[in-house]
């Protein structure tokens, strides 16, 4: 793999992580909050930001469902984008929860489904598989977002998202 030597390219594309979280948020608020066979829910922690560095204006919310709060929508209408959000992903009976940090795709506080291990097994293998599954889910979701984002369908999707931000349904 070739290492990126031009950090500018990486920096200039950082906003895509935040747009990805907007898209996930919009999806989660819709009648079909799913990506493929994965149900998506934003839950309990959300931070929105406009600008960067010491000049950044930030709105941070915690609670049962901050993403559906008026404060969250006001922040979006004010031009702030989600910098991090706590996500709950469910596939069949398995559920993962974690905070996704948009700018770096950093995952913090990941909780995986309960392990089925023998008492003599430290569960590393199963734990690794369940962690790899959620990485695959996130990467797949991001790939679907990028596919939409770089297609002719994006303008229509962005218009729907704007309508939702203004106060319409997703």
């Amino acid at each position: 793999m070739i290492r990126y030597e031009y950090g500018e390219a990486i920096e200039s594309a950082r906003f895509l992580g935040r747009e990805f979280l907007v898209w996930l948020w919009w999806l989660s608020a819709s009648d079909e909050p799913r990506i493929g066979d994965v149900e998506v829910c934003l839950h309990s922690a959300l931070t929105l930001e406009r600008g960067g560095g010491s000049e950044a204006e930030r709105t941070a919310m915690r609670g049962a469902d901050p993403s559906s709060s008026r404060e969250a929508k006001d922040a979006l209408r004010d031009g702030k984008l989600p910098k991090s959000a706590k996500l709950h992903l469910t596939r069949n009976e398995a559920q993962w929860s974690f905070v996704l940090h948009a700018d770096t795709m950093l995952i913090t506080g990941l909780k995986i489904p309960a392990l089925l291990v023998d008492k003599d097994d430290d569960g590393f293998s199963e734990r690794d598989q369940l962690t790899a599954q959620v990485e695959e889910i996130v990467d797949d979701a991001f790939a679907r977002f990028i596919d939409l984002r770089t297609s002719e369908r994006w303008d229509a999707a962005a218009a729907s998202i704007r309508a939702w931000v203004r106060g319409g349904v997703a």
Partner: protein, 205 residues
């Protein structure tokens, strides 16, 4: 350590898959952790340790490889002396030196000597602060989880010094797309403009 239990916080990196691990153990042993001693000039030291037993620096196949994974502890030890403590001890030591020499003022060289002596004495009374981060490398997929959210610069440096020829790319928008598609597709993203969601730009639907 979040590699084995509890909730996980980690930074993801990608590198080329490395199904052949010839030479890896020798390279790891070359950069295994070595204790800080008070006489060291270094304020901190980094190196590899057993991921399950951070005080263990004898690294072999049994405690490094697990299936398709290479597991290591990234250990950093550092002398941590508070500024207030150092300042107070320096003041005391300089006063003692002035009294012993009958001088009214110490030269820069003398002050530097006093500082070296004070720092060494403090280190002899302390245990270095230790932090260990779990590193989980899937050799088949090339995915590395560095179980920390702190800046990974020192880890990247040690990794690339240990496993020469392999470089790390931190997971992000471009690297995820490149990994799934191609570098050309990833680089196209850099040309995109942000989409405003709080107002309708001219010409938009």
């Amino acid at each position: 350590m979040s590699v084995f239990s509890g909730s996980q916080t980690y930074t993801r990196f990608f590198t080329d898959p490395a199904p052949k691990t010839d030479g890896f153990l020798a390279a790891i042993r070359l950069r295994r952790f070595r204790d800080l001693v008070p006489s060291d000039e270094d304020r901190s030291r980094i190196g590899w340790v057993d991921i399950r037993h951070p005080l263990e620096t004898d690294l072999g196949a049994a405690n490094v490889f697990e299936g398709e994974h290479l597991l290591l502890g990234f250990r950093v030890d550092a002398w941590k002396v508070t500024a207030d403590l150092l300042k107070a001890r320096l003041k005391s030591a300089e006063a003692a030196r002035l009294e012993a020499t009958g001088q009214t003022r110490l030269s820069k060289t003398q002050r530097d000597d006093v500082r070296v002596m004070v720092v060494r004495h403090l280190r002899e009374q302390m245990i270095p602060m230790m932090t260990v981060v779990g590193v989980d490398w899937n050799l088949n997929t090339g995915v590395i989880r560095f179980h920390s959210s702190k800046k990974p610069d020192a880890f990247v440096e040690l990794f690339e010094a240990t496993f020469k020829g392999l470089s790390l790319v931190q997971a992000g928008a471009l690297s995820i797309v490149e990994r799934r598609s191609s570098r050309d597709d990833a680089m196209e993203l850099a040309g995109l403009e942000p989409t405003p969601f709080h107002y309708q730009p001219a010409g938009a639907a």
